[in-house]
Amino acid sequence: MTTEPELKTLLGWYGQMWTIRYFEDNAIASFRQGLFTGSTHPCIGQEAIAVGAAAALEPADQVLATYRGHGHAIAKGLEPRSLMAELLCKETGCCGGRGGSMHLCGVDKGFMGTNAIVAAHIPIAAGVALANQLKRNGRVVVVFFGDGATCEGAFFETLNMAVLWKIPLVLVCENNGFAISVPTRTAIPIENISQRADGFGLPGVTVDGNDPALVHGAVAEAVARARRGEGPTLIECKTVRWERHSAISAGKYANEEEAMKWKKADPIPRLEKVLLARGATEAQLQALREKAKAVNDEALAFAIASESPKPATVGDFVYA
């Protein structure tokens, strides 16, 4: 059912991928300058997954993601300025400066939040999907997680129940080759994580996660299936993490050379080649890059200029 996306669509994705790339560049630079503490977990090199998947969704559909979730938030429609302000723990941030880099949320956009406990959001996403099923509202939930999460019990438990109850859930595993420092092949004894689906009775597919059109095709098919009431799908997107696990992570990869060769798989130049071959002009691409940069520079300036939350409000939002 995958059809080649229109040029206009691809150009939109290209712009979004640059928006995410510049956002992450600013996030890392801001952290290094001491504009915020804690840490940040960039998704540089993985932008195609968030963008391709989100494009397969309706605005009312919902997304949950991990601490490496800035890209998913942007792809689901959150404004870089409210996200950057949240990273800088400002009161204008999407969570009022309480959540920071790892806890982003925009319920009005269907972005049900990022989570800092590996795999813990997978059952939560399933609960949101079950609510959709019970309300018969036709919405689908996409949950993003890394390869590391597929070793956690919550992943397996949820696969079992999700298939049992045929909930409208699409599970997107971003296999970026590393769980902090551990290469996937020393943690998972099978070639493709999507093979896990076989034992649970759901479709499992593996796609090249650095091609947004392939990600989009796989997610669109899974979303359609979920909307028809046929239940969940597991999609593994093979990709690569460029940066360290987080901005404060120590150490090098066990095999630095292997990790770095993946830079050649950068999804942005790949898409650029496709666009130029399809008739886009360099001027068009440059305009999109500049716009993405301008949006992010404005976002960072906005975040820096914003106020920190008042100390007196520290106890707000605990109880309903």
């Binding site: 969570c95 959540g99 939560i124 019990g153 919550a154 129940m161």
Partner: protein, 318 residues
Amino acid sequence: MAEAINEAIRHEMRRNKDIVLLGQDIGAYGGSFGVYKGLYDEFGPDRVRDGPLCEASTAGWGVGLAISGMPTIVEIEFLDFLTLASDAICNQAAKMRYFFGGQVSVPLILRAPIVNRLGLGAQHSQSLEAWMMHTPGLHVIVPSNAADAKGLLIAAIRDGNPTVFIEHVRLYAAKMPVEEEDHPIPLGKLRVAREGTDATIATYSGMVKPSLEAAAKLAAEGIECEVLDLRTLAPLDREGICASVRKTGRLIVAHEAVKTAGAGAEIAQSAMEGAFDYLQAPIQRVAARDLPIPTGKLQDSVFPGAADVEAAVRTAMA
């Protein structure tokens, strides 16, 4: 008490069509202790979701339903099994509203019974309420009787915050008149189970009855104990505890959980902070010994009873 809890759930499910129940054995079987009797027949498999055994994810699914505007009651068959669901409760439910800046609410109730003194051993006999008290963002409710259980559960469901509702297997069969009508009991307000002037016994759940027995025995000798049934540990009615201590000048704290870092320590410290000048004797703690719970007769050497409460009052009076 089991029937009262059943009535509370039924009442709220009729009132609010969005409420969902999740857990194992809650369908036609009616729950391990019969609490769910008839609910599956009345509300059907969509709302009474009898599921596989996986506490961790069941609680996580409950969080997802709750943040989607569907208040959810998750069954944890023994309080001991709450440990399996602890991430969903402590890292997710308790904090999610906070770290998302108030964008979501988490109307999630985890019902779990203390199942002690039945000889089930170390993994089925614990009182873990203090673990939950130690997590800001949760409510911890510990009813001691059927009427309170019904009123407190109705209140907790309507309150709309993540709540660990701790029942007690020994109290399930205990019968008493219960309000038929809508009668929520405010959270964070203790109940004076017996008035007295000489010493305060602050207790909850399974130790309320032994404490009342001790108080009755001491009254025969002219020692009048005030017995406080705390009803909820979070929020804790610190002012209610202090008001009683200001009146009696003595405090005994009694619970079935192990002593070290138990709820009793927090209750005692509340009195130290709010009523120190009124205390005429050191605060006494009556609790289980700091041991894994053994099976068989040995368990009687671990858990406290009415005689221990009585002895603690005498120590405070000496």
